[in-house]
Amino acid sequence: MHIAAYMLDMVMAALFFLAAFSKLGSSFADFRLSIVSYRVLPIRLVTLAASGVLAAEFALFLLYGFGLLFIWKDLFALLLFAFFTAMLFRKRRLKENADSSCSCFGRIQALNRYPVLRNGLLMALTSVRLLLPERIPHTMDSAMHALAGVTVIASGVMLAQLYASLARSKEVRIEL
């Protein structure tokens, strides 16, 4: 049971970190623009909202990684997914030729392609997690396991980005 809780927490943590990290840098403007397209906020609040989502995703990464705020963060995550899915439906209703993908995961198209399905799966995962025991690391061992998991996730995502950057570097080199 506890292993399942740990694994599920790490999967959620990884997804939140991936989502947050892929919005950093030159992709942030695009994410901000996608919020504009939902037409649910006045323009001057959009940047704040975008930053807020980014901060929430980083926070959820840490909370899931260290198993803190059980129930609360899971309910918050469920609410977030539900809200984003509702926004997606709304966008599709407003514009007939609106593309059905979102830019929640930046360049990682595989995770962007079927957002409703993806969000549904995430909500299912979160619900399952609510049924499993809480995982607050109050022993040194469990704290170490949490730290290890968080390190693997952050390092893994950053290494993948490093690889992508190296590939990109080759693409844009000009033979002068």
Binding site: S26, V36, L162
Partner: protein, 154 residues
């Protein structure tokens, strides 16, 4: 004692990888800027403070938005507006005349392949403001936003 060591090691690892990533991302940033300057110079396009390169196909709905805006000569857009256009040669020629001073057209089928490397899928718009680079996926949203900002400024 071991716990502190593990904590230190984990932090050091993450900081190390982050630094490496930052370094290579900076390199990519510089390469992309240099590439842009090089490609612009090749086509005789001036580099201003606000530059936009947009990849668009004349069959896309966003093209109508672009055409209407550039042909109307209302509100000024970015100082350097480059259109990487996928369209038959004769259309590129016609639009070169009608969009004249507002935008530069680069024929997507007849240009240096590295133009496509600059704007590789899923990104369709590249914006360079001073030193800040931005990539966008939706041309129509970008055009609407740029137009709104141009109206707000004037």
């Amino acid at each position: 004692m071991t716990a502190d060591l593990v904590l230190l090691a984990c932090c050091a690892l993450m900081i190390g990888i982050a630094s490496l990533l930052w370094h290579y991302k900076k390199q990519v940033r510089q390469s992309e800027s240099a590439l842009l300057h090089h490609l612009f110079a090749q086509e005789g396009i001036p580099v201003h403070d606000h530059n936009v390169v947009i990849r668009i196909d004349y069959a896309q709905p966003a093209y109508k938005v672009l055409d209407e805006w550039l042909s109307s000569r209302a509100d000024s857009g970015p100082a350097t507006f480059v259109i990487l256009l996928t369209a038959p040669g004769w259309l590129c020629q016609i639009k070169r005349k009608s969009w004249d001073a507002r935008a530069w057209i680069v024929d997507a089928s007849a240009c240096h392949p590295v133009w496509h490397a600059l704007l590789s899928s899923p990104y369709t718009v590249f914006e360079l403001i001073g030193n800040q680079r931005r990539y966008y996926t939706d041309q129509q949203l970008f055009l609407e936003q740029t137009r709104q900002e141009a109206i707000a400024v004037s």
